[in-house]
């Protein structure tokens, strides 16, 4: 299942991990782990959700590219082909 990969999709997924966060003020280049207080478990759940939502396989070595909204959109869009 592939949805349109954009910021709102990413925020939707993040919303299930950090339900109390205000995504309207989240900057595109902010480190998500800092901004949303995500620990390694949260981040892994985020990656898993991205994988399940987009069907894209994400090797561990690429995790750092997903640390910002812009980075995540860029990476996933490129991988979607």
């Amino acid at each position: 299942m592939s949805d349109t990969i954009d910021k709102s999709m990413i925020c939707e997924i993040l919303g299930s991990i950090a339900p109390e966060a205000d995504f309207s003020t989240l900057g595109g280049s902010e480190d998500l782990r800092e901004a949303l207080d995500l620990d390694s478990m949260d981040f892994l759940n985020f990656v898993i959700a991205l994988h399940e939502r987009t069907g894209i396989d994400i090797p561990e070595v690429d995790y750092p590219k997903l640390r910002t909204l812009d980075g995540a959109v860029l990476y996933l869009s490129a991988r979607q082909g």
Binding site: H51, E52, D57, E60
Partner: protein
């Protein structure tokens, strides 16, 4: 009402998941109780048939109060025809002194259950079998109130109300009480030790590369497993201390510290941590985190930890010097995993490392024992494939 933590005094019954007449077996979840630490699912450890839900939804009762009755035989079946017991026939040889007439067939009277007319009518309206209820009316008759209470219990069970997320203020109070008590009563001693994780992390990288995203492991799993296995070698640190006596844990059930969004901390147990494979532990940890945040932890998880492990993950501080959660005797802490200068054969090079710390109850163990644990953890983490 079970004790779901050392300092719990009372709990509020918010949901019944069974109703009178249901058969339950060991491990079934029967109710949800609201505590300072959020909503906890209560498991039952008996088998039988639920005969009575004693406490209504919303009632706050002290730990130890009766909340339900589980019977062996449960519901009496209607109108049981019992076979007549034949009188023992006199042996033919001896002269019959007296003929004992056979006992007449005993039929349990169909109308033995007392149900008031109004209750019968209400039960029919609500599709409740009034004959399964225990009556509180005159002469033990089932009343309208009894029927309506049963219907309410069924309704709640059928349509569970959304569970309240934990109340941070209450959680804070609970933590304050437990930690305050711990520092007052437990003479803590502290040991720390740095551990080279290069072997562990490179093994992990290779393992994860071959796994789909959802099966990958976090470094914390390795740390947890190492701690659990180390406790097999040093059982003096796995158990509880009460009334001047240390009681070794029957198994190694590590309470995994989970911080909750919005502030708060719970440490539900992973039963038999030392016996679980790494993937098993990983999925257990994920499940616990999800349920801790959504309010679905189980009573057995909160009541049974024999030791607690806390890990700061990859952000935070180098070392964690924790406070033991009573009545346990140890808290194992893992600081941030990060690159450190490491001495290797007279050279200094960067190695990924973690500082493990032990907070231990000096009444139950001494520094020597504590040091044995930490060096065991270090050793185990050098052979990650064996974890």
């Amino acid at each position: 009402m079970p004790a779901l933590g050392a300092d719990m005094e009372a709990g509020t019954l918010v949901e019944w998941l069974v109703k009178p007449g249901d058969r339950v077996k060991r491990g079934d979840i029967v109710a949800v109780v609201e505590t300072q630490k959020g909503a906890i699912e209560i498991e039952i450890f008996n088998e039988g048939i639920v005969s009575e839900l004693v406490v209504p939804i919303g009632a706050k009762v002290p730990v130890g109060s009766l909340i339900a009755r589980i019977g062996d035989t449960g519901v009496a079946p209607p109108a049981v025809l019992q076979a007549a017991k034949p009188a023992p026939s006199a042996p033919i040889s001896s002269p019959p002194k007296r003929i004992v007439p056979p006992q007449p067939a005993v039929i349990a009277p169909v109308g033995a259950m007392k149900i008031s007319p109004a209750a019968r009518r209400r039960a029919a309206e609500l599709h409740i079998d009034a004959t399964t209820l225990r009556g509180t009316g005159v002469d033990g008759a089932v009343t309208v109130a009894d029927v309506e209470a049963a219907a309410a219990a069924v309704a709640i069970a059928a349509a569970p109300s959304p569970r309240k997320a934990f109340d941070p203020a209450e959680m804070r109070k609970a933590i304050a009480a437990a930690m305050g008590r711990s520092k007052r009563e437990i003479p803590h001693y502290y040991l720390t030790h740095p551990i080279d994780l290069s072997l562990a992390l490179s093994w992990l990288e290779r393992f994860n590369a071959a796994q789909p995203v959802s099966s990958r492991l976090l470094p914390a799993v390795l740390l947890l497993k190492a701690a659990a296995l180390a406790l097999r070698e040093v059982p003096q640190l796995n158990g509880t201390y009460a009334d001047g006596v240390f009681q070794a844990g029957a198994g190694i059930h590590v309470g995994w510290a989970i911080s909750l969004r919005g502030g708060g901390l719970v440490a539900p147990a992973i039963l038999d941590t030392d016996q679980r494979s790494l993937p098993e532990l990983m999925s257990q940890m994920r499940d616990l985190v999800q349920r801790a945040r959504a309010g679905g932890l189980r009573s057995s998880e909160l009541a049974s930890p024999t030791v607690t492990v806390t890990s700061l993950g990859d952000r935070g501080a180098e070392t964690v010097m924790g406070i033991i959660y009573p009545p346990q005797v140890a808290l194992i802490g893992f600081g941030m995993i990060g690159a450190r200068p490491w001495v290797v054969e007279n050279r200094v090079e960067p190695r990924p490392a973690v500082t493990v710390s032990l907070a231990a109850d000096h009444r139950a163990s001494d520094g020597h024992i504590g040091a044995l644990l930490l060096s065991a953890i270090e050793r185990l983490l050098q052979e990650p494939e064996k974890l």
